[in-house]
Symmetry: C2
Subunit: 420 residues, 2 copies
């Protein structure tokens, strides 16, 4: 079934906000077996929205719209869609009561303008909003559908996942199922080369991606049932494993930090961090994972040298002789934070994040990562060769990812001892 | 002049990549005085692209396209545009030489498929690519333009900024200039109410936004010259300052962390952090700012209670009596990290990030923020009333923003002493 997405909002046309709704919906629709052929954005303008909707309905059976369901005068999506599709708007008393309750729960009185949010298309399907005031709805005409959702992602996403997705599932004649194979330590081109024959496949398809130093493969199968599609994916993933298994750190994971937290939970081990140039980003990523407290002991962001010395026990002579961006300093930082916390692993990062080179002329992107455990201390040198505009974020995320991966490698017993 | 943006790429329709090009171009075009009325995405499909381009050219004088300029068979944008606009493709020997040189510099031989990237529209304008192999170009027909750019942002952005922007400037009859007024501590609706008359204005326009607990106002003026547009904005900003000046923490800033780093630099003061539920996110935000090392002493991510006690000196009885998520614990964490680091400010956060409520039944989103300085200790209680899916990020970013803002308030001498 052909599908398209229309986002309504002048703020998107002005570039004030990044359009993440379209991506979310595109991914979800692809998984449900719908083919998204167009994505469009129009402003809060009745005429242009009507024109776009007419055109979209002429070429697609399913049109998803987000935005413009708010209480103000420039929220016009529901009104325009009903007009174009010949549907009447009627007051839904249940929805009105829900909106009143939403305000009451927050100790506020519902403004009169909010009433219009409880208007729904007669004979349409209503999707309640558990995270805001505007309900969504679906309007049908001649077997074609317009599905209206609120614009804020925190309202739209749960409404789609919990209410619209099950409704769409009934309308789809095939299931598209994807698995994401996540690797680290192998470049995107090397990975693609290793599976080049698979990249030619039509069902399942295999597509390579690169992100933050990780190389990913998306395996996607189309079948009549979820079960069959899953089996088709798994067959391909088995082949991928044979070829590049040593670099795979997870399937369908959210990122390295999730793999690290899960692995440490399983192993019953704890981690402590000493971060300099990553400045807390590794700690932030680890604590992004719900339940991280079970494996995360503490982090020290030791930006200043006196903190490296006083708190982490880095020796004054180490910094004087090798500077704070050195193999030696990374080792002592990792040892220090492990000692301080009593964790099983002490992980440290020190380097030049950029954008400018260091005062001593060494380049932005030169980074040392230290890992200390009862097995000794390992230090890895990373050089991204990247300075200038945009390099700071890039260098920091690459340092963080490499550091997290070092923990996984150590757990697999793979890290070679460069230094004890 | 009406303008629209077409991004070409099946990977965008599948949701595999987030479309950041459209946002970048929308912002840039708005600044140049072009009105972006539509944004569209189509896949690597000649028929649908041709159809979209015809429609876009019918309603807009300037159509920007990105993507589909690569060397492979599914890169079709140039061919389709030339076909639709009746232009002939000819080999540009200069561009061919540049592409050869690009590969030679990297020690590689140019593949034959890359040759087609040097084809340019006859009588068109060519924009060289300093960051990749595909040149951009502009094609004219009847006073309407299609401007073709490569898809990868790291090629497209510099091409736009350095080559296409100056070309467009000649075609624009006015300049649009924006300033962003950033506030904290006043809700979006209260802010909008305070300046409701200004929101009605047509030139300059004033538009409210909310983001991560901050309320923003974008002031946009259109004039013949940059200077005049700036003056028009500043006049409105002066009025906004009179009304809600106490909440404004900056104009055209990147965020609270930039304001904090600059303020502390000016004051010659240093900051230390003790983070529990924010897990290093405040440290990460502070160290996002180049030069943060001048004001940032250290951060301690004290996830475990024994770290709160051993490292920060939180008293055992404090945790036993009040728990680690309490006014008292936040105060001792802030005091502890200031003592430990010798910084002027010790800033602490402890709370329940979610998604689940605490084991003792207290809600996700209950957070205490402590600030210790030579003037004493202040603790602020924050309750976001938000749990469940998506709440963890929301609660953490709100806690971080509130904490950063507390430093700014303290610097202004505004924080009332709740506790010493």
């Amino acid at each position: 079934m052909n599908c398209e997405i229309i986002c309504v909002g002048t703020e998107i046309l002005l570039g004030d906000i990044l359009n993440t709704n379209t991506r979310y919906l595109s991914q979800e629709m692809a998984r449900l077996g719908f083919q998204v052929l167009h994505q469009c954005v129009v402003g809060d303008n009745a005429e242009r929205l009507a024109e776009q909707l007419r055109e979209s309905l002429a070429r697609s059976e399913m049109v998803l719209l987000t935005g413009g369901l708010g209480p103000t005068a420039d929220d016009i999506t529901k009104e325009v869609c009903c007009e174009v599709m010949g549907a009447e708007l009627v007051m839904d008393e249940d929805e009105l009561e829900k909106i009143r309750a939403y305000f009451a729960k927050r100790g506020r009185v519902m403004a009169d303008t909010n009433k219009k949010q409880a208007l729904v298309p007669k004979n349409g399907i209503v999707f309640s909003n558990d995270h805001g005031t505007a309900p969504g709805c679906a309007i049908e005409r001649d077997g074609r559908f317009a599905v209206l959702m609120p614009g804020p992602p925190r309202e739209m996403r749960p409404m789609f996942a919990d209410k619209i997705r099950p409704w769409l599932l009934q309308k789809s004649d095939s299931i598209i199922f994807s698995r994401m194979v996540r690797t680290f330590g192998i470049g995107e081109s090397a990975m693609a080369e290793a599976v080049s024959d698979l990249l030619e496949g039509e069902n399942p398809t295999v597509a390579p991606y690169a992100k933050d130093g990780e190389a990913l493969l998306r395996v996607t199968a189309k079948a009549e049932t979820q079960e069959k599609a899953e089996q088709m994916c798994d067959k391909i993933i088995a082949i991928i494993r044979e070829r590049i298994g040593e670099y795979i750190y997870g399937i369908d994971r959210d990122g390295l930090e999730f793999a690290v937290v899960e692995q440490l939970k399983t192993a019953g081990k704890k981690l402590a961090l000493a971060e300099s140039c990553t400045g807390g980003w590794i700690a932030k990523r680890i604590t992004d994972v719900p339940g991280a407290s079970k494996v995360f002991e503490c982090g020290v962001v030791s930006y200043a040298n006196n903190i490296k010395m006083n708190l982490l026990g880095v020796k004054n002579e180490t910094i004087e002789r090798f500077t704070e961006v050195s193999r030696e300093c990374a080792a002592e930082m990792a040892q220090g934070v492990r000692r301080l916390s009593g964790a099983d692993y002490g992980l440290s990062v020190t380097g030049f994040a950029g954008p400018d080179p260091a005062e001593d002329g060494r380049p932005a992107g030169l980074i040392y990562i230290g890992l200390d455990s009862k097995n000794g201390t390992t230090v890895k040198e990373l050089n991204t060769h990247r300075g200038g505009a945009g390099s700071r974020d890039y260098n920091r995320v690459l340092a963080a990812s490499n550091a997290l991966y070092m923990v996984l490698e150590e757990e697999k017993g793979k890290v070679s001892r460069v230094e004890r």
